[in-house]
């Protein structure tokens, strides 16, 4: 009897073990990937397009309703020209930070992906995640791109002297704007949000009178740093002896005074404007301008605004353009208004790397992918379909450089389908009937806009990987809290954070930054 009991117990235990092992892949995710299957480039001499291929393209965002209709048209064209079709896959904004690196390691078969300096370009390029685009390949497979690409863009895209991305062919100006509810502004007698005082009054009015709303519902994802970054920039440019440049990548919290010929780098915590910025965000948080649970909120502030849960959103002007059109259609009663949030700080001329397209290093058809990208960028039909949708359904042309969004554009909105990597100045159209004060905003910024001194600086972290790992961890935990103003004792918490940074080896990291920044200044004289 006892024997049977023991056996039964054992069988039961085995059942438990087996069920427990279904989660066994957790820490060994990476090890289930297939090993490299040989070199990726095949040695064809000229474009051989006899074999029909389907290319898989990864984009970021939510799948537009009419995506398939648009790509059916694009594919018609591509099939005719290069005997290839594109199958599009989307990863949503809420998951791309996790998913993006994993699809490279997953062994999945795909070909092209959206990338950018803010979207893993350097990290994936230095881990050989992308197929190298040589000048010869460009000449052979993407002749139109070879002709139209801005030379600066090509230079900027180099990582260790090699290019892995086709940066957008488009000069972009970015600046932060506020998007507010006109109906609520009128209700509480707020005139304008052009100054921080106006914005504060508005948010305070919401806190006091609209208990069901959060004034500015910032999330814990990429938009968590918008408010901090905005305040930091304004204070930085207001300084008398030169502004600070936060060196990329931002997760290493290192900055340098832009006009410093010695390039003496320091931690952002040591910059004289840090405490001031921190005190403002802390004040805003304490007044309830964003949720006490902002650090666990995975919805970003534009989504929350769109859902009517918050009264204000901060975003860059390009996001605002497309969101404005959508909201005008969905909620005309909100009377959405857009205000310049820059408070005198200059707008930034984006690096070309702010958007681009790359090819996967293990793509089975990298050449054909390059040809397809060539068409998406430089063929007016493909470019316009991808960027604006189907003419006559989603938009109609107004003159040579304008377009009008048609009602169906809510199913495929203007310039908001992760098409940014193929934007081309040559075919670019701006929306008529977009933000009413758009002209005025852009005029203001154009005069002062500048591209930062260090905008093309690329940090080589190969010698300091352990420090990078340790400091990124701090950035994503303790520093993230400060950026959202979560501190009851600013001075004390900053001191604690500095001690942690010291322990993580910030000296070694800054040494490396200093050397590289000096070298950068020498090779890139103003």
């Amino acid at each position: 009897m006892k024997k049977t009991a023991k056996l039964l117990a054992l069988v039961l235990a085995l059942v438990l073990v087996v069920s427990a092992f279904t989660g066994c892949g957790g820490t060994t995710v990476s090890s289930s990937t297939a090993p490299a299957s040989g070199a990726s480039g095949s040695g064809t001499s000229g474009p051989d397009i006899s074999e029909e291929v389907t290319l898989t393209m990864y984009l970021i965002g939510d799948r537009p309703v009419d995506n398939d209709k648009v790509f059916e048209k694009i594919n018609e064209r591509l099939k005719e020209e290069i005997n290839a079709t594109i199958d599009v896959k989307y990863m949503s904004w809420s998951e791309y930070e996790q998913k993006y690196p994993l699809i490279f390691a997953s062994g999945e078969d795909w070909d092209m992906i959206f990338t950018a300096d803010w979207c893993f370009y350097n990290a994936q390029a230095s881990k050989q995640g992308f197929w190298e685009i040589t000048p010869e390949a460009l000449e052979t497979y993407a002749p139109m791109t070879a002709e139209s690409m801005y030379p600066e863009a090509w230079e900027q895209a180099k990582v260790d002297g090699k290019v892995y991305m086709l940066p957008m062919n488009y000069q972009e100006l970015t600046a932060y704007v506020w998007m507010a509810r006109g109906d609520l502004m009128d209700k509480y007698g707020i005139e304008s949000l052009d100054t921080f005082e106006g914005a504060e009054q508005y948010m305070q009015a919401i806190v006091d009178n609209e208990p069901s709303m959060i004034p500015l519902d910032v999330g814990s994802d990429y938009d968590r740093q918008f408010v901090f970054d905005l305040l930091w920039n304004v204070k930085s440019y207001a300084r008398d002896d030169g502004n600070y440049a936060v060196l990329p990548p931002v997760n290493l919290i290192t900055c340098v005074q832009e006009n410093d010929p010695e390039a003496n780098v320091m931690s952002t915590l040591d910059a004289d404007i840090f405490m001031d910025t921190l005190n403002t965000v802390k004040d805003w948080r304490d007044r309830g301008f964003w949720s006490r649970n902002a650090v666990v909120n995975t919805q970003n502030n534009t989504e929350s605004f769109q859902a009517g849960k918050s009264a204000l959103a901060v975003m860059n002007i390009n996001t605002a353009k497309s969101l404005y059109a959508t909201l005008q259609a969905e909620h005309p009663e909100w009377d959405v208004r857009v205000f310049d949030a820059m408070n005198g700080a200059p707008a930034t001329i984006q690096s070309y790397l702010a958007n681009g397209m790359s090819i996967f290093s293990k793509s089975k058809n990298p050449e054909r992918a390059l040809m397809a990208l060539d068409y998406l960028r430089n063929d007016e039909i493909c470019h316009n379909l991808f960027c604006y949708g189907i003419e006559g359904v989603h938009w109609e042309a107004v003159g040579d450089h304008g377009l009008k969004s048609l009602p169906d554009s809510s199913n495929y909105a203007y310039d908001s389908n992760c098409n940014w990597g193929v934007r081309n100045d040559q075919f670019w159209r701006t929306v008529e009937g977009g933000i009413p004060n758009s002209e005025e905003l852009t005029e203001n910024w154009k005069e002062t806009a500048r591209s930062g001194r260090y905008i093309t600086f690329v940090f080589d972290d190969s010698e300091v990987k352990n420090e990078v790992a340790a400091i990124s961890e701090i950035y994503n935990s303790d520093y993230k809290l400060l950026q959202l103003g979560f501190t009851d004792d600013p001075a004390g918490d900053v001191e604690k954070l500095k001690a942690k940074l010291d322990a993580a080896g910030v000296d070694v990291l800054q040494e490396a930054f200093h050397t590289q920044a000096q070298a950068f200044l020498e090779s890139h004289p103003e």
Binding site: A13, T27, A105, A123, G129, D478, F486
Partner: protein, 308 residues
């Protein structure tokens, strides 16, 4: 019985049904656990996508440095072990208690229904549990605070309060796992010879005495084996649970970060597969040593019940 020259083959022949029953489990273990072990080499490599796992260059023990340099090694190890010990003790006690209560219950229907209801949470995904927790505890619109406000009390800010998280985590772990374990113990109790109870009844034993002297000793093998298995996973945080329930909240990371969440976070941020594999290897090595140790202890005390 006639002994064959190959006792294993003989056994295979005699007990072929039992071996067959073992086969699926064995295949799963080999596929999911033994084959991926090859990936351990990653811990000593600087991984790149192009050369893959086996082609990437070797870097020796460099990947291990980051784990210790980040100053996190100690706190995440401590959290992992303490949480698992707490889960183990709390869940085991609750499971055994529930199993005994259920076995003593008379009504067949009531018993069945209770058992099913208790088992149900096991099937709820942690993502959903995380959403429950968020909707209960979020500061502005959470159920708890809405209730407190309606009573005119001050709302509480759970998400920035380190002290309550260990209790929340232990609570949700029990919520999800007690039903499952109860069924295992209940099966083990059902297996105890009914004659023992009849004899005890004749001797005039009351319910407590029967539980104390028949039921508990009867399920001891199950308890020991489950306990041993749990020791083996004591270095392994239930990733889903810690990640989803706390929402990866940096405010309380000091008390909720376990090795698994730490590894995942650094993997997502840095994509340094080598470094995270190194942390994983550290974890597995410790687990392995713990199993050996625990088994040795059991062997000393109760040689019959040791796993190997």
């Amino acid at each position: 019985m006639k002994r064959s020259k190959h006792p294993f083959l003989q056994d295979l022949k005699e007990n072929r049904i039992k071996w067959l029953m073992l086969l699926p489990a064995a295949i799963v273990v080999i596929l999911m656990c033994y084959i991926p072990m090859g990936g351990i080499v990653l811990a000593f490599k600087e991984y790149n996508y192009h050369d893959g796992i086996f082609g990437s260059p070797w870097v020796g023990f460099k990947n291990f440095e980051y784990f210790f340099q980040s100053g996190k090694a100690w706190s995440v190890t401590r959290n992992t072990i303490l949480y698992n010990l707490a889960f183990l003790c709390v869940n085991t006690v609750l499971q055994i208690t529930c199993a005994i209560l259920l076995s003593e219950l008379a009504g067949k229907w009531f018993k069945r229904i209770t058992q099913s209801v208790m088992f149900f949470p096991y099937f709820i995904s942690w993502v959903v549990v995380g959403a429950f927790i968020y909707n209960m505890f979020n500061f502005e619109f959470g159920a708890v605070n809405t209730f407190l406000r309606s009573l005119g009390l001050e709302p509480v800010d759970i998400y920035s309060n380190e002290a309550v998280w260990p209790f929340i985590l232990i609570g949700v772990s029990a919520f999800k796992n007690v039903g499952y374990g109860t069924v295992m113990y209940l099966a083990s109790i059902m297996n105890i010879d009914g004659q023992l109870y009849e004899a005890a009844d004749l001797d005039g034993a009351n319910m407590w005495q029967k539980i104390r002297h028949i039921t508990l000793p009867g399920i001891r093998p199950t308890v020991v084996i489950l306990f041993l298995l749990a020791i083996g996973t004591i270095m392994k945080g239930d990733f889903q649970m810690f990640w989803q329930v706390t929402g990866n909240n940096p405010m309380v990371l000091e008390v909720t970060d376990v090795i698994d969440t730490y590894v995942t976070r650094s993997l997502l941020q840095l994509q340094e597969f080598g470094m995270t594999s190194a942390a994983g290897l550290y974890q597995s090595t410790f687990s392995f040593l713990l199993v050996l140790l625990a088994n040795k202890l059991v062997k000393k005390v109760e040689p019959d019940y040791a796993l190997f």
